[in-house]
Amino acid sequence: MSRVSVPCHVKGTVALQVGDVRTSQGRPGVLVIDVTFPSVAPFELQEIMFKNYYTAFLTIRVRQHTSTHTPAKWVTCLRDYCLMPDPHSEEGAQEYVSLFKHQMLCDMGKVLELRLILRQPSPLWLSFTVEELQIYQQGPKDLGIWLQVSPTLPASGQYAFALQSPSMTFPKWLSHPVPCEQPAPLLEVSPHPG
């Protein structure tokens, strides 16, 4: 589909806790991960993907580019998204998660920086984080016409056209498979991104 991975720099996690991290007994229940995009202009965020590792709740704040000269402010775009329904048990603890722009509370048109706030209220886990973090932006917006031609064309001819909508993550034609005698080679008209 037309989404493009955005190269990002993930800063080290910072634990938020009251008191001295080294001497206090308890484990921090809140971690903050900053994600910057040093070589990329402000972009429209399409999808955030990661593998969870025992994080229970996720909040995301975003700093966007503003056209006026006011300094860019941090806005919460996802609040307390639940990754583990029961923070004390394994459910959801190591799952792959995708978050899309339609799930965000604000428009994600000109993203400069992201801040992920991870929460794990249960004291039972030794550590928690998110791994394999990947950010995607909108790919080239236009066409994506998939042309399917059967090599053994019956007399009436069989062509299947499906206009690919950018918001779907895979082609619509899968829902209405066209019966063919042989598997047909797929000819892509548009250059495949990524």
């Binding site: 329904p85 792959y96 995708s98 886990w125 779907m168 895979f170 899968l174 829902s175």
Partner: protein
């Protein structure tokens, strides 16, 4: 919402792809071509007419049953970035534990073969083949000398592995916290508590009729039994898998059970072209023969390999001599990838009461195995997996019978040590056969093995008074040695719905 739409479309695509390779697809295609001869099929409305024809002739129902079966058996498509091993088992430490367990079994198997100088796999010489075909129907009476063979492993070896299962990211320290596990299982999997179980097993409640309770001699059949049998016959005539699964939650009448199970498991009515000989003139009940036939064929049935996509276990691979590491020379040993353990035949034995035709018996057993029984001897975090069942049992006992649990722990008789063998064999060989079949009705109806853990806890609750008086593990085992007089459904009903919590 956009996300759900694309999820649904992905599921549809997956099911379509799976069904395209099946015999049902070929049959539907053939039927569609044949139907063109029929007068009611008009060229202008071809698609609609054929659809209508399928509906009337019952083929649409068969397709619905196949789709329902796929939805029940295969897990939903996971995240596109998730690798295939994630689908087998999402938790990394469990995958590792399953891998080391498999290595141990293989080592044991290989060393036994080396000791006895028997190659693991070789083609049967022609003379032996002829002999086998001749003796096919009497295999139980003419067994080879198996006295030197040991079972590859016993359930209690497996229990030791489960007891030692640890999550490296979990607080396993000595200090007792609010979540210390007092039982044997030390991994924090999510298990249902009694309110959730009551909701899940709502059809077993006190206000619903049950076979196993409301068909006893004191209860007039007009109250429940007659109507229930009538509905069962209707479900069978409609040939609807989903309806059958819902119906069987209240138990299956004995006369209808074989057909109902076949409908729910969606086994084909065509006798399968399997190695079983077609000429079965003697249908006598020598179960030993059936067991040998079924298990021999099962071990060679490579279609069973398909279930390893969602089983945390992997089939052991071995290489033709001299070609170690070359994939073209890799073979799965045994061919179906399943290494049986001591007592494995107990999964098949109860089915012999239902199915007299070996081909049907085999199909049902294979479906039951790839849907349910494989979960009882592989390490996974699935809610019906043996680890979750053990934890569910211990949690239920600890929460609702704390005095009994504490007492048994104190005398060195951890309850799981006694109930593990019941659950691993799905109670086969421990309950009376009619009670066992009523229990397996519910496994099929709810598509889950959790009822095994609930029954195990219910048995302990039933014998609690005697158990409180014992002072050793051996005495506790003796109290729970004989389950053959137990009635399964009243026990379950009382434990879930009539115990003060």
């Amino acid at each position: 919402m956009l996300q759900e739409e694309s999820d649904l479309a992905l599921i549809i695509a997956q099911i379509v792809q799976k069904l395209k390779g099946s015999t049902l697809y070929a049959q539907l295609e053939r039927q569609a071509w044949a139907s063109l001869q029929r007068p009611e099929i008009k060229l202008e409305s071809l698609k609609e007419d054929i659809k209508e024809f399928f509906k009337i002739s019952g083929w649409e129902k068969k397709l619905q049953n196949a789709v329902y079966s796929e939805l029940n058996v295969f897990p939903l498509p996971s995240h596109p970035a998730a690798p295939p091993e994630h689908l087998k088992e999402p938790l990394v430490y469990m995958r590792k534990a399953q891998g080391s367990w498999e290595k141990r079994i293989l080592k044991s198997l290989n060393s036994m073969c080396t000791e006895l100088s028997i190659p693991l796999a070789r083609k049967r010489p022609v003379g032996e083949q002829k002999e086998l075909l001749n003796k096919w129907n009497e295999m139980g009476t003419d067994e080879p000398d198996l006295s030197l063979f040991r079972p590859v492993y016993a359930p209690k070896d497996f229990l030791e592995v489960l007891i030692n299962l640890r999550n490296p990211n979990y607080e396993n320290g000595d200090s007792h916290s609010f979540r210390t596990h007092l039982g044997l299982i030390q991994v924090p999997l999510k298990v249902k508590d009694i309110p959730e179980l009551k909701e899940f097993f709502v059809e077993l409640g006190l206000t619903a009729g049950q076979l196993g309770i409301d068909d006893s001699t004191q209860v007039p059949p007009e109250l429940f039994e007659n109507e229930h049998v009538r509905i069962g016959q209707k479900v069978l005539s409609e040939q609807d898998s989903a309806a059958a699964q819902q119906y069987i939650r209240q138990g299956s009448p004995t006369a209808l059970r074989a057909e109902l199970w076949a409908l729910i498991l969606n086994t084909s009515s065509q006798p399968e072209d399997v190695k079983l000989t077609a000429s079965n003139d003697d249908y006598y009940f020598v179960f030993e023969d059936y067991l040998y036939q079924v298990l021999l064929c099962f071990s060679r049935d490579t279609s069973v390999l398909g279930h390893f996509a969602y089983n945390s276990a992997s089939p052991p691979k071995s290489y033709i001599r001299g070609k170690l590491g070359l994939e073209e020379y890799a073979v799965f040993y045994p061919p179906n990838g399943v290494i049986p353990f001591h007592g494995f035949s107990m999964y098949v034995a109860p089915l012999c009461f239902l199915y007299h035709e070996p081909s049907k018996l085999y199909q049902i057993f294979r479906e039951m195995y790839v849907r349910f029984f494989f979960r009882l001897h592989s390490i996974s975090s699935h809610p019906s997996g043996i680890v979750s069942l053990c934890l569910l049992f211990e949690t239920l006992l600890q929460t609702y019978l704390p005095q009994l649990f504490y007492h048994l722990r104190e005398i060195g008789a951890q309850p799981l040590r006694i109930s593990f063998k019941w659950m691993v064999r799905a109670f086969s060989g421990y309950l009376a056969t009619d009670q066992l079949l009523l229990l397996w009705d519910r496994i099929l109806g709810y598509n889950s093995l959790e009822i095994l853990a609930v029954l195990a806890a219910a048995v302990f609750a039933f014998r609690a008074v005697n158990l409180m008086e014992v002072t050793s593990l051996a005495a506790a085992e003796a109290v729970l040695a004989d389950l053959s007089t137990l009635k399964v459904m009243p026990l379950l009903q009382i434990f879930l719905f009539a115990t003060v919590t």
